[in-house]
């Protein structure tokens, strides 16, 4: 767990689009740090678009849902377009359960791969 807490946020900036690649487990324990890191990056960089790429997330529960909905709310507040990309089938089920797609664009650029 320490390695995940210490690892920096992996991002790619292309033009005014900031893509954040999340990985590992997103639960209540890890969500707070991930949230702070994303928000700091967004405040410094002020992109026009923020994309959360979930292709490498192995596990996510309702805390991850809170993280995604919270980042969406922040993006709306700052006038930033927001998208979620490449959720695994397991994560997709959680997103669908909460009706996330009514608010947030979910994109799967390539078929989501299982983590195992």
């Amino acid at each position: 767990m320490l390695t995940q807490e210490e690892s920096p946020l992996r991002t790619i900036t292309s033009g005014k689009t900031l893509t954040v690649f999340l990985d590992g487990d997103i639960d209540h324990h890890t969500a707070r740090q991930i949230r702070n890191r994303i928000d700091t990056k967004v405040y410094i960089q002020r992109p026009d678009e923020l994309i959360l790429d979930l292709s490498r997330v192995c596990f996510m529960d309702s805390s991850g849902l809170g993280l995604i909905l919270g980042r969406y709310a922040k993006a709306v507040e700052l006038g930033i377009a927001f998208k979620v990309a490449n959720p695994t089938p397991e994560i997709r089920r959680i997103l669908d359960l909460a009706g996330t797609e009514r608010l947030i664009k979910i994109e799967s650029a390539r078929p989501a791969k299982r983590a195992w």
């Binding site: 209540h28 596990f59 529960d61 359960l97």
Partner: protein
């Protein structure tokens, strides 16, 4: 009818520190492995247990640290049961707490979907709670049968 006896059982007690959410998930996944569940079943069970343990940490013991007890059972008919107990503040209105999107803690970005996820990912969910005494969350899921070898 006598209550069926579990074929295997595991009890563990840990403090309500958030790093134990991952621990509870891995213990649960290891415990279910003996029944050869599908990846999807393991993923569902891990998520449900994670929700219950997070609830105990975030709500049951909000602002304090207490003991969480997790009891896992497996029955001969391939039913898996997990019980997560805390002796925290308890829930005044269980029905309200179980409503989708209901949360008492929106400022910390709690989505209010915990119980909804458990209900959807498991076959049954029972929540027993008494204000001031604590909460017991009991969930069950019947694992699919193994394919018969030819």
């Amino acid at each position: 009818m006598a209550k069926p006896k579990p074929v295997n059982e595991l009890k563990c007690i840990f403090p309500s520190w958030s790093q134990n959410e991952a621990l509870a998930r891995s213990v649960t996944a290891s415990f279910t492995a003996q029944m050869n569940p599908t990846c999807e079943e393991v993923s569902d069970i891990k998520c449900a247990v994670s929700e219950a343990v997070t609830n105990a940490i975030v709500h049951g013991y909000r602002g304090t640290v207490g003991e969480i007890q997790m009891i896992l059972k497996l029955y001969a008919d391939r039913t898996f049961q997990a019980e997560v107990r805390d002796r925290g503040v308890g829930i005044r209105d269980v029905e309200e707490a179980m409503r989708p999107l209901f949360t008492t803690d929106p400022e910390n970005e709690r989505s209010g979907m915990g119980f909804t996820i458990i209900e959807n990912f498991m076959d049954s969910l029972r929540v027993l709670s008494e204000p001031g005494k604590g909460t017991r969350v009991i969930m069950k899921k019947k694992l699919s049968m193994l394919p018969i070898a030819k």
